[in-house]
């Protein structure tokens, strides 16, 4: 366990903290943007399901002794799952939430079995569940990949913002006016999948979907326009991340759990604020 002063005593450590901070902030930004749409479309559990699949992929990567390649392995797997889930949800006999539960628990089971069989003990697989105890395992590839993908997500989101709003608000109207709603649903699923994999290492696959659901829900306590909710969601999420991140550094807590706790506090605070605001509104 390190104190902050010890931590900052070496330039090397500062470099690592900055890396973790950059990746964390980018992932937080992406997930809080995507979360608004996902929560409103009643897709909150997709994040959770995909993160379990991500865990499965990481476990398989560890089993193959390729832990350093885990992003490169798990991104395609999770993106593919997102595709399949939406396809199944739309057409198949297995309906939305059930297929999600099947896929997510199945992936965890297969992943951990393979990991056990392989006899590899190189990475602590618990890290993938609860997030790394020490943050500072972000390699060059991870950093670059995270930065590039997060920025791509943000650009895509801004570029398609009006369409994403329309598809979220009213899918049948959007389809009738000629918007290819399936394309935007897929886009949303793919972006979510990528975001989840990027954030999983730091937050842990059990908690990464909190970054998607909490900020959106928190913002909806007080904001009543789509743009307002987006802006509020992003700011709350970034603030919670920064607070959680440095608290975790300072006291040597787990980053994921601390950041989620900060989000819980924000949610409670905003719920109360929302209640007060509504009372005023009614009077």
């Amino acid at each position: 366990m390190m104190t902050l002063s010890e931590l900052f005593s070496s330039a090397f450590m500062i470099n690592l903290v900055i890396r973790a901070l950059i990746v964390g902030l980018l992932v937080t930004l992406c997930s809080s943007l995507l979360g608004v749409s996902l929560v409103l479309k009643r897709f909150s559990m997709i994040g959770d399901g995909l993160s379990h699949v991500g865990f499965g992929a990481v476990a398989v990567a560890a089993a193959l002794n390729m832990s350093n390649m885990k992003l490169i392995i798990s991104i395609p797997v999770v993106v593919l799952t997102a595709f399949l889930l939406l396809r199944l949800g739309n057409h198949g006999k297995v309906k939305g939430d059930a297929s999600l539960a099947l896929v997510s628990t199945g992936a965890v089971a297969v992943g951990s079995l393979l990991y056990n069989f392989s006899g590899q003990r190189s990475t602590d697989i618990c890290n993938s569940l609860f997030g790394s105890a020490s943050l500072f395992t972000i390699g060059d590839i991870d950093l670059i990949l995270s930065a590039v993908l997060s920025i791509a997500i943000i650009i895509l989101f801004v570029f398609f913002y009006t369409k994403i709003f329309a598809v979220t608000f009213d899918e049948s109207f959007s389809r009738a006016t000629g918007i290819k709603t399936n394309v935007y649903n897929m886009l949303l699923a793919v972006l979510t999948a990528v975001t989840i994999v990027l954030g999983m290492n730091m937050m842990g696959s059990l908690m990464i979907s909190a970054l998607i659901v909490f900020p959106a829900m928190t913002a909806m306590r007080v904001c009543t326009t789509f743009k307002g909710v987006l802006i509020c969601s992003v700011s709350v999420s970034l603030i919670c991340f920064v607070i959680g991140f440095f608290t975790a550094c300072l006291f040597g807590w787990q980053t994921g759990a601390t950041v989620v706790s900060a989000n819980i506090i924000a949610f409670i605070f905003m719920s109360i604020a929302g209640k007060i605001k509504n009372k005023k509104y009614c009077n």
Partner: protein, 233 residues
């Protein structure tokens, strides 16, 4: 001049034929009401008109307009009732169909949204949140959005579902006014008395067309007397 021409249409849902032998046309300025019980094929017909499903056989021919130029008023979903969006955000989204890939709304589109909000008397609510509006106001917002998507034709799916009698009458009045301004209306409904009161043409279906013609003709036909008599709900 006919805007929509349907010939020998056969429509299926999940590979089951739900509507067959349907021929009708809609002329500019018409107010057509599509009547039928639940499960009679109304929704399927509507989807076909919007181009969301392909007919099994027969054809739907559009003159001067494409599928995507129909202004559509769908039934409200659960998601929308507590959706955080301002009225102007919702109305503006009606202009999206024509814009291709442009990321932001242009001035022209904002003007159009403003004009349509004014027509429906909701411009003063533009900054309000959609979720705080009454059912009737929400329906006007959705109607304004539909107007942003069209200049010629509105397709309304049970536009008064869930509204109280006063608001229902108000809604029918608004629709009639839009029709008098030259907008062609196709309304899906099972409210026969309102249909015969407001519409100029009636299409009554039950897996097959039972009647197509003007409202006057309909009122003197057997089907109407049967429906307005015993069977009416």
């Amino acid at each position: 001049m006919s805007l929509i021409n349907c010939k020998n249409l056969e429509l299926a849902y999940d590979n089951k034929t739900v509507l067959s032998d349907l021929s009708f046309q809609v002329n500019r300025g018409d107010y057509l009401c599509v009547l039928g019980e639940n499960g009679s094929g109304k929704t399927t017909l509507m989807k076909a008109l919007l181009g969301l499903i392909k007919p099994v056989s027969g054809e739907i021919r559009f003159c001067c307009a494409k599928h995507s130029e129909i202004g559509y008023l769908p039934q409200q979903t659960d998601i929308q009732k507590d959706f955080p969006a301002s009225v102007s955000e919702v109305v503006l989204s009606g202009t999206l169909g024509k814009r291709g890939l442009k990321p932001f709304y242009s001035k022209k589109e904002k003007e159009l949204a403003k004009k349509n909000m004014e027509i429906l008397g909701i411009y003063h609510l533009a900054k309000q949140s959609y979720q705080n509006l009454s059912g009737g106001q929400q329906q006007r917002v959705l109607l304004a959005r539909a107007l942003c998507a069209t200049t010629s034709m509105l397709l309304l799916d049970e536009p008064v579902a869930g509204l109280d009698p006063v608001v229902t009458a108000e809604m029918y009045r608004i629709i009639k006014e839009l029709n008098e301004k030259g907008i062609t209306i196709i309304m899906i409904s099972h409210d026969i008395s309102a249909a015969t009161q407001y519409a100029s043409h009636i299409l009554h279906i039950h897996h097959k067309p039972l009647f197509f013609g003007t409202t006057q003709e309909y009122l003197s036909s057997n089907i109407a007397t049967k429906f307005l008599g015993g069977d009416q709900k």
